[in-house]
């Protein structure tokens, strides 16, 4: 556990050293703030004391930002050879993958913590559904975890960051929209399978304030599969 934390801390440090973290935080707060308060379906337009508009914009901004954060994590190590340095230290492939996963998750949590002023502002404007707000944040964190593990997997299979970024987006877009579209155009068994696979089904359920064990299982299984896939592609150096 301490070794996972060592890896996570170094990754987090490098996010902040390389300005990636600041750019991500500023852009995330900028986008979500603009669409929550100033433009489009903003809080004032809806006329309800709810963070629903923030959650639906964060649902998209995080989708684009996360691959940009994860693309570097394993691809760069592979390219510069530092992966060899890491893997010859007394640490398992799994610990490396989990450490990197945690570092990005922590950065996302920091970004979400910085949106708490939105919550307090809306709260001061009128009665707010506390449960829905808490679950909305939980939903964003679960969704981010899923995309981080997908991004990490994409980063583990290549040594090119652009390829990793695009691959993470392409895998992500299936969960984000395509499965949802397929679900609405198909009926019967296939329709319900795609409906279950769609990220938005689970996210909107949670952010409306309804949480079900099936949603949790859905997110956790994507996370576990992504992390295991990354571990497997690190171990692939030994297969021929």
């Amino acid at each position: 556990m301490t070794k996972i934390w060592t890896i996570a801390r170094r990754e987090l440090q490098s996010f902040f050293d390389s300005l990636t973290a600041y750019i991500m935080l500023v852009a995330f707060l900028g986008f979500s703030g603009f669409f929550t308060w100033i433009s489009g379906n903003d809080v004032f337009f809806i006329g309800q004391a709810s963070l629903q508009s923030f959650f639906s914009i964060a649902y998209w901004t995080l989708f684009f930002f996360i691959p940009a954060l994860t693309m570097r994590q394993l691809a760069e190590e592979r390219k510069t050879g530092t992966l060899e340095m890491l893997l010859t230290k007394p640490i398992s492939d799994w610990q490396i993958v989990v450490g990197k996963f945690l570092s990005t998750l922590i950065l996302i949590v920091i970004a979400l913590l910085l949106t708490f002023p939105y919550y307090f502002t809306v709260w001061s404007l009128g009665p707010i559904d506390q449960g829905a707000v808490i679950l909305g944040y939980v939903g964003l964190i679960l969704m981010s975890s899923a995309y981080i593990s997908i991004g990490l997997f994409a980063s583990s299979v290549t040594n090119n960051q652009i390829v990793a970024f695009l691959m993470a987006l392409i895998i992500g877009i299936f969960f984000h929209v395509i499965f949802g579209i397929l679900a609405s155009s198909l009926t019967g068994e296939a329709g319900s399978v795609f409906d279950y696979l769609s990220m938005s089904t689970h996210f909107s359920a949670i952010s409306r304030g309804v949480i079900d064990s099936r949603d949790i299982i859905y997110f956790l299984s994507i996370v576990i599969m992504g992390l295991m896939g990354s571990e497997a592609s690190l171990a692939k150096r030994n297969l021929n």
């Binding site: 490098s14 510069t80 050879g81 060899e84 340095m85 890491l86 010859t88 007394p90 021929n240």
Partner: protein, 309 residues
Amino acid sequence: MDIIVEKVTKLYGAQKAVDNISFKVNTGEVLGFLGPNGAGKTTTMKAISCFLAANEGDITVGGLSVKENPEKVKSLIGYLPENNPLYQEMQVIDYLAFVAELHGVPKEEIPGRIREMIKVCGLAGEKYKNIRELSKGYKQRVGLAQALIHDPEVLILDEPTTGLDPNQIAEIRDLIRKIGKEKTVILSSHILAEVEATCDRILIINNGRIVANGTPSELRMRAHGDEILKVKISGGEPEDIFIALEDIDTIRSVAIMENSPGYFEVHSHENENSARSIFDMCAQSNWYIEELTPVETRLEDIFREVTMN
């Protein structure tokens, strides 16, 4: 802590990078790995340091198998990979702390270890710099410092002196020799003089196979059993001297060295010594020896001999 490599084969696709090699390194021994590019030096080192798993065979470090106890083995080894990969954006001191933590060095000992490494590797002026800003020689020292930070029993160095200036090379060699007194060291190089200066034993590999294994002097003996002398004799006609030399029983052949007048290269028969008879012969003929030097077979020649085919 000894290292035993047993019948290790490593394939890259269909190509055999390492082909059924076995050798043993004893505690306190410095083993030099020599070989042309692509001979399998790096692959063997990667297999010992648990980065690559061998397709066949096994490696044990201090009795622990790399297959069964990779994490235990990794904690015993300090490894400097080829090309010395480092996190460019980190400060030297942070990087060393990071590596120490990965090695599980107890928290309270880390500052002391870092201080010692900075002293040993001569990084005092560079410790707060970003690794990116360092010259190649200093980067190499950081690589060495990270390999030594947890005071490993076994040190594996893949081309440790590339990119260093002659002073630094001498320093690193001294350091390796010092470490090699108590620890087991494997280093690879294609600089023969370096291997000769630092290693107790040399292993030459070619096309994934061991082609020579022994101490530098053993290898020399094996390459040329017979003595070669370079002599300069004055006081007579070169033709007469030449004939007189050829008449000596212990001498197999004599050659006049074309570039340096008055010099002869004398090859003795196997296990024979000719210096005394040359001296006697000169004394009888009233010639005098200006110079007599034994010609040692250079390691280069051995290297070329065993790796060219």
